[in-house]
């Protein structure tokens, strides 16, 4: 997952432009293509981070966009990028898939992107410590893992994390802080 803050942090003008595109798409779905092109890669990467199968990730990504197109009339602009809504659909789709298929949920560690987390926990990046950290992460609950994944593995800003999880930004910060504390103590 690439850092995608540039897409999340949009100027008011960009947001309004996007809102206009959404409104146009509500009237004529062909305008949705702009949004599809803009966010396809982001949504795919989100799905793929959690599902270790490229084609399956493609399918779920398609399903996310299909749902978005079908439910577009329900979408309401809330002053945040359209991607926020797409991510929530994606999150719902991915978890529904795990539930329906009783499938394994993939947790993909990229050591390069673990640096922030390691810095936060303040552990020496010795192999044993890193292994211990991974073991502790494996013990996190699903909700906790999702938070760590969004914040550290996918390097999303707190605001976006809060939007995706439908919690307040301060709540996201507090929750993540508690998880870090928990990991710190465990490691």
């Amino acid at each position: 997952m690439e850092r995608n803050q540039h897409l999340y942090h949009q100027s008011e003008e960009q947001l309004l432009n996007e809102k206009n595109i959404v409104e146009a798409a509500k009237k004529d779905l062909k305008h949705f293509e702009t949004l599809y092109n803009k966010y396809h890669e982001q949504i795919f990467r989100y799905v793929y981070q959690r599902i270790d199968a490229i084609d399956l990730a493609h399918d779920i990504t398609s399903q996310v966009f299909l749902k978005a197109m079908n439910k577009l009339h329900q979408y309401q602009y809330r002053g945040v990028p359209f991607s926020s809504w797409l991510y929530r659909i994606a999150m719902s789709e991915v978890y529904q898939y795990f539930k329906d298929k009783k499938a394994e949920r993939t947790v993909n560690f990229e050591t390069e992107k673990m640096k922030d987390l390691i810095d936060e926990i303040d552990v020496n990046s010795t192999e044993s410590k890193l292994k211990s950290l991974l073991e502790k992460i494996a013990e996190l609950t699903d909700d906790e893992l999702e938070l760590i994944e969004l914040r550290y593995f996918e390097q999303r800003p707190f605001k976006e994390v809060s939007e995706l999880l439908n919690i307040s930004e301060s709540n996201a910060k507090v929750k993540i802080h508690r998880i870090i504390k928990k990991l710190k103590m465990a490691v």
């Binding site: 779905l29 399918d59 398609s62 299909l66 079908n70 309401q76 499938a103 993939t106």
Partner: protein, 587 residues
């Protein structure tokens, strides 16, 4: 416990090209079956279009499925099959309050509607008792594409507060991005039209404007139409906030205020704040008072000076006819200024030097002509001698007396000048005070006018209206989606006050401060949520038309995760809607 996980470390990164392989917008377009919004605005929509157009399921081929490579995962994911939804719905209204999704909880307590007759050829502007205005243009109605001739009956209902919403039985949940919200209402209406009990439609190109009073001037509310067939609310844009009395507002004007003050009219807080700063006027008044005090003081001093006019010093003429007497300054204030005053017997009075050699028992000085002549009465035994004398000075004493007399004269002149100046100042100040008082009184009039205008403004605020236009009859709602209450979740069971279990069906949590109701059906009793900080009340209905109420105060007693809600039961037949509002909303 958490779901099964698979951990990978530094998995192969995909590049943008690999990712874009899965992109196929055209395919999605073929599969998509959106509800176009607002579909009645679409050009193809006409009154004759009542047949559902189905998106052919045949084009929904699961090409994606064929791409799934099962080698990477043992499970197979089948994308959700698109639902065969009608892109166009038959929206012909059949006026029935028993539409599938509308289930009033009580048969006895129903919100009553109002019926209005409108001549289709004339249109009308209906003023509903609540203040709502329904504007119907000419030729607004049609049946089967043909204009309606004659009168149309408009049946209208309003649901303004939580009790209205509760009794309406209209579902208030709203799904957005798979998150369930409840609609907080700013006002909900049901409007339908009939001619001879046959439903009429709003003619193509015509709209009915509904404007209802609101106190909430926030723009958070959206407009929704109830899709009764699918039991959901369709987003229909935004209502507008208007105020038709805006043109009538007269802002108070004070071009140049002597008080240099501003009239503040705060419509939002519904307050009128006019600072009647009388201090400035008081300043003028205080100034006058000060001048008056000074003037009185000066006058007093002048009076004192004039009452104590010293004699004009006169030089001694004949040293051999003089007496040196000590006089009481209080008895002879005109002499009090001076020292060493001599009393010289006047020329035409007979005087004998032998009088000096007599030791007189008493000497009395009496005023004869103040400052000029005195009678001196010398007495010894029975002999009394009267002499007419005048006060005189000699040598240095004369010079000193002249100085003192001059000082006195100057002092009097100064005081008189002061008096003159103060009198002028007083006149001017008094004139100014009168002018300012007059201006102040004029401004008071303007203030009174402002107060009247404020009243109009306040009325204006009260006349704030939320408006929207409809192209179709049905149930319309100005709402804002709000999430479920947060704070406490309990597994609920219900009993009467005696502790006997009762069956309630759906129970409704009401937060008095939010115009929303949160329903919990039987399956959701185990996750009944409420915010302990809020003013909550829980309401349910029994099958034998009793209302069950769990009072606000009792929410504080809920400590455990499982709670038996002991409800107070009342027979609905004994209640009016007014009673119910009093009980539930404290209205």
């Amino acid at each position: 416990m958490h779901m099964k996980r698979k951990y990978t470390i530094d998995r192969k990164k995909l590049n943008a090209e690999e990712i874009s392989k899965g992109k196929n917008f055209d395919q999605l377009m073929n599969m998509a079956t959106p509800i176009k919004l607002p579909f009645y605005k679409a050009g193809w929509f006409g009154p004759s279009v009542i047949t559902a157009v189905l998106i052919s399921a045949s084009i929904v081929t699961y090409i994606l499925m064929s791409d799934i490579n099962n080698t990477t995962n043992s499970s197979t994911y089948i994308p959700e099959k698109p639902k065969k939804e009608n892109t166009v719905k038959n929206k012909l209204v059949t006026y029935s309050e028993d539409t599938p999704c509308i289930n009033p909880p009580s048969e006895s307590l129903q919100i009553s509607g109002t019926s209005y007759k409108v001549d289709n050829q004339k249109g009308d502007k209906i003023k509903h008792a609540s203040g709502t205005i329904i504007e119907i243009p000419k030729n607004a109605f049609e049946i089967n594409g043909k204009p309606v001739e004659g009168e149309v009956e408009i049946k209208y209902k309003e649901y303004k507060d939580q009790v209205d919403i509760l009794l309406s039985g209209i579902p208030m949940h709203y799904d957005s991005a798979n998150t369930d919200y409840v609609l907080e209402s700013a006002g909900m209406v049901q409007i339908n039209g009939f001619q001879d009990d046959i439903p009429v439609n709003i003619a193509n190109g015509k709209t009915i404007k509904i404007s209802f009073p609101t106190e909430d001037n926030s723009k958070r509310f959206n407009l929704y139409e109830l899709d009764t067939a699918n039991n959901r609310w369709d987003y229909m844009g935004k209502p507008s906030l208007t105020n038709e009395k805006e043109a009538e507002i007269i802002q108070p004007k004070i071009e140049k205020s002597i008080l240099n003050e501003t009239l503040i009219i705060d419509l939002n807080n519904d307050t009128l704040n006019i600072t009647t700063n009388k201090n400035i006027l008081n300043n003028y008044s205080t100034n006058i008072d000060q001048i008056q005090t000074d003037l009185t003081e000066v006058k007093k001093e002048i009076k004192e000076l004039e009452n104590n006019v010293p004699i004009q010093p006169k030089k001694s003429i004949n040293k051999d006819r003089q007496f040196n007497l000590e006089v009481d300054p209080e008895e002879f204030p005109e002499l009090s200024e001076y020292e060493k005053v001599l009393f010289e017997v006047i020329e035409n009075t007979e005087f004998n030097n032998s009088l000096y050699s007599i030791e007189w028992d008493d000497v009395i000085l009496e005023e004869y002509k103040k400052g000029e002549m005195y009678r001196m009465k010398l007495s010894k035994d029975d002999n009394i001698t009267n002499l007419m004398v005048r006060p005189v000075f000699e040598g240095e004493n004369m010079e000193e007396a002249i100085k003192k007399f001059d000082n006195y004269t100057k002092k009097l002149e100064v005081k008189k000048e002061e008096e003159k100046v103060l009198k002028e100042k007083y006149e001017k100040a008094y004139q100014k005070y009168k002018e300012e008082l007059e201006k102040f009184q004029q401004e008071q009039k303007i203030r009174e006018e402002a107060a009247k205008n404020w009243k109009k403004n306040a009325d204006f605020a009260n006349n704030l209206k939320m408006s929207f236009e409809i192209e179709r009859f049905g149930t319309w709602n100005c709402d804002s989606p709000v999430p479920q209450p947060k704070g406490k979740t309990v597994s609920a069971s219900f009993s009467n006050l005696a502790g006997t279990s009762i069956i309630l069906g759906t129970v409704y949590l009401i937060e008095r401060k939010r115009n929303a109701i949160f329903p919990y059906n039987y399956n959701q009793y185990n996750k009944l949520k409420f915010n302990p900080e809020e003013d909550n009340i829980l309401v349910g209905f029994t099958s034998d038309d009793q209302i069950a109420i769990f009072e606000t105060a009792k929410f504080k007693e809920i400590k455990e995760k499982k709670h038996e809600f002991k409800m107070e039961l009342k027979n609905v037949l004994d209640l009016s809607i007014k009673n119910l509002k009093k009980m539930i909303l404290n209205q």
